[in-house]
């Protein structure tokens, strides 16, 4: 760059300069060694075993809770008249929301050419898939008679009837199903070249066979890359509206019904912003320990984390705006039921949940206005955990406050979860972390092929234009 510095702006804050996307001095070889080195490690670190044991215990709890539920019935949960959508739906929306950051980072940031995504996208995509897997469990077991779950899908059955396509619950089946499938394709496809790297580096026959099987015969030829990149671009283009549609459709589950506090048009954008918010918080809270632990600091730099914290600040503020706007509209509509629903939310029996939500989601991210805070590991960890808690409470507040005050005051009630509710939710973290730890241990955590294009060696002619006498 030949242009002079802007007065009063330190060089690293100059918007014309891009922050380095990998630590200077990183080479093609070092990228491969760092990333491929993790699954290739001979001895699995002890800490991994400890974490895996905890995750497996939780996973076992989940299995036991589901088995108990199946043999006993949904009465084991706190769901009861009038709150028939208790924790299972809260947990479903919570997990689906978390599953939004991955595809957002991969697709939207890819289309908008935010190159910093290369370091974190694989990680975030994996998180997306595992979160969606956790989410999918809850509506499945919430239907009561799980062996009839196939009624969710338009399959021919002995009743000779079909599902109702005017129901947002059915739209949900299609939206979440499509999202899970496309995210999986996107994640796997992006991983194929990296799996080929692992294949070619493996010494052990079994590993070479397994990675060889998964990498489908990738050789990295120009034609392969050309089609691969086109497919990747198309998938990104398809996933972008998809990721926006998924949480919109989830919000329709609420917004299309006629309940005060649910029946509002702000729900789709508000849910999407909340989903991105919670997803990024989850990425940060997983990324920080992972990069520390697996020595990925050269590839996932503090700059990456700072950018993600900025997104947390923006989406958190958007969510805060939505909370305020809901109140305004409730007042402005003049609808007494809507007004009651919102006053009841903030000052009724669930006030504690409401204010937990506001403090975690709206107030805590405001610290990210300060650059120091955005670049401080302890602060970002605390905020990320707060945001995850706050976003769970948001779904709880929306679901439970509206339902517990239904149209007949005689049936009003106060929702209390049971121990089974809590253990099932804790168990879902077991599933998430089990999958996640397996991913960290056996698959390339960073998109090596993409990061390679970010270092000087990966740029033809080292950035001096595309010189070449034959062009």
């Amino acid at each position: 760059m030949t242009d002079t510095a802007i007065k009063g702006v330190p060089a690293e804050d100059d918007p014309r300069h891009r922050v380095p996307l990998a630590k200077p001095g990183t080479t093609l070889t070092s990228i491969t060694d760092i990333v491929a080195g993790i699954p290739e490690r001979r001895a699995t670190p002890k800490a991994w075993y400890v974490a895996f044991a905890i995750a497996l215990t939780l996973l076992g709890t989940l299995g036991a809770m589901i088995a108990y539920l199946l043999f006993t019935g949904v009465g084991v949960w706190g769901n009861n008249n009038p709150v028939f959508w208790g924790w299972p739906i809260v947990n479903f929306v919570f997990w689906v929301g978390i599953g939004h950051a991955g595809t957002l980072i991969s697709a939207i940031l890819f289309l908008t050419r935010q190159n910093w995504r290369t370091g974190v996208n694989r990680f975030a995509e994996a998180m997306t898939i595992f979160a969606v897997a956790c989410a999918a469990i809850f509506p499945g077991i919430h239907i009561g008679r799980v062996w009839l779950a196939f009624y969710l899908f338009p399959l021919p059955n002995q009743m000779q009837m079909w599902p109702n396509f005017r129901s947002p619950l059915l739209w949900d089946v299609f939206a979440v199903g499509t999202y899970a499938t496309v995210s999986l394709l996107f994640w796997y496809m992006g991983m194929v070249p990296d799996l080929a790297t692992l294949r070619d580096r493996s010494v052990h026959k079994v590993r070479r066979f397994a990675y060889g099987l998964l990498s489908l015969g990738w050789t990295g030829s120009g034609r392969e890359w050309s089609r691969f990149e086109k497919a990747y671009l198309i998938l990104a283009g398809l996933a972008t509206p998809l990721v926006l549609s998924v949480h919109s459709v989830v919000s329709f589950d609420f917004a299309v019904s006629q309940l005060p506090g649910w029946h509002t048009t702000i729900f789709p954008p508000y849910f999407v912003a909340g989903a991105v918010f919670s997803g990024f918080a989850m990425v940060v809270s997983l990324m920080v320990p992972a990069r520390q632990f697996f020595g990925l600091k050269d590839l996932i730099t503090i700059n990456h984390l700072e950018v993600m914290n900025k997104i947390i600040l923006v989406t958190g503020t958007m969510v805060g705006y939505a909370y305020a706007m809901e109140f305004f509209i409730a007042w402005y509509s003049g609808n007494p039921y809507e007004r009651f629903a919102f006053v009841n939310r903030a000052f009724g029996p669930y006030y504690w949940a409401y204010w937990t939500m506001v403090s975690c989601n709206v107030i805590s991210p405001q610290i990210f206005w300060f650059k120091k805070a955005r670049r401080s590991i302890p602060i970002m960890m605390v905020v990320a955990v707060f945001v995850n808690i706050g976003m769970w409470f948001e779904r709880f507040v929306i679901t439970v406050t509206s339902l517990s005050r239904d149209f007949l005051p005689s049936s009003w009630g106060y929702f209390r979860p049971t121990a089974i509710d809590m253990l099932t939710f804790a168990g879902s973290f077991g599933l998430f972390f089990t999958l996640f730890l397996l991913f960290c241990r056996f698959l390339p955590m960073v998109a090596m092929a993409e990061v390679r294009t970010m270092v000087p060696e990966g740029k033809p002619s080292h950035g001096h234009g595309h010189g070449g006498s034959h062009e």
Binding site: L28, L185, T197, W218, S221, G222, R227, A239, G468
Partner: protein, 416 residues
Amino acid sequence: MGTVMEAPMSNQDKAPAGVLALFDDVDSLLDACRRMRDAGYTRWEAHAPFPVHGLDKAAGIKPTVLPWIVLVCGLTGTGCAMLMQWWMNAHDYKYLISGKPFFSVPANVPVAFEMTILFASFAAFFGMLALNRFPRWSNPLFRMPEFRRVTADRFAIVVDPADPKFHAGAAFLGEIGAKQVLPVPADPSPAKFPVWVHMVGSLVTMAALIPVALIIRAHYVTSPNPPIHVVPDMDFQWKDKAQTSNPTFADGRAMRKAVAGTVSVDADVDPNLLSYQSGKSTMVDATGTTYRTDFPLPVTKELLALGEMKFGVYCAPCHGGSGYGDGPVHQRAMALETAGWIPPVNFHAETSLALSTGRLYDSIVNGVRGNMQSYASQLPTAEERWAVVAFIRALQRSQNASTSDLPQGMQPKEIK
């Protein structure tokens, strides 16, 4: 599997599967590619560990047809979704929801959108695999230890023996900057599957068809055995059904008699109230049936108020608030041009005015000619039914009044 096997030494006699040239950096690769292209080589590939900017042009790679495949599949997804929703909800099993049309685009957009994305994404993914001929687990390149770093930090050009200039390839690659040029050993494994693979394959295929055949057979064959209940749900319950025996009771009957002293709901009802065919005054109508024409109970203001309320709930939806047969159900049927719709009777028509009170009561209790159902269970007491009859009479009076009906002294004066 080719990926696991190391190259055995026995394939020296076979012709090489190509020639491999290695490069150290991306610039020399791009430069070599341009020279290969310009020298007229046609069957060769450049390999790199990441997508190289400008390689398509340098190696003369044409744009892929993938986007078109995706477009076609995406549109197929939209079409399938629309067709599916129409067929399932508007054709094969019609859902009437709040009187909305059976098929309307807005309600079907979300599913159509998701299926468009789903089909298009499958096309992008599987299209990419198919165009690249993946999975291709066996590749002579995988047998070369030198090739392994090409997926990490080195670059390569591989020339296919099918290239017309293949014989000069090795030398040319050396000239244009390759660090190392090597023949690619041919694949030593036989090109055809051994016979036993075919045999086992066909046996497995045939075995796999057996369950399918059984399922298809079960569709056509009836069986005297009860169906298998995998999950019995509430099909079998610990309760007695009507007309069965139960040894717990001395008389062995599962159905118990009413406890001594039980009073029936209509035990005390005056038989006169329940009768609509005989009364103080009767008539014989056009069908030859005898009906009473009086009321078995005094018609009071309270009775009329009860009748008005019940009429509004149970009769007005079809017969209309004023009894002209123009209730909302009828209007909706007209708007939908429902075939075979029988309009509710207008209570102010000549024939209706002639109906006896007994006939009106009969209509409520027994329904009308199979075209109107009985309202006996909605109006369970005789008093309620007579109240509705009285109200219909009042309606008829109100809509067909003449000035002579007004009380004495309130008749309007003729205006001259």
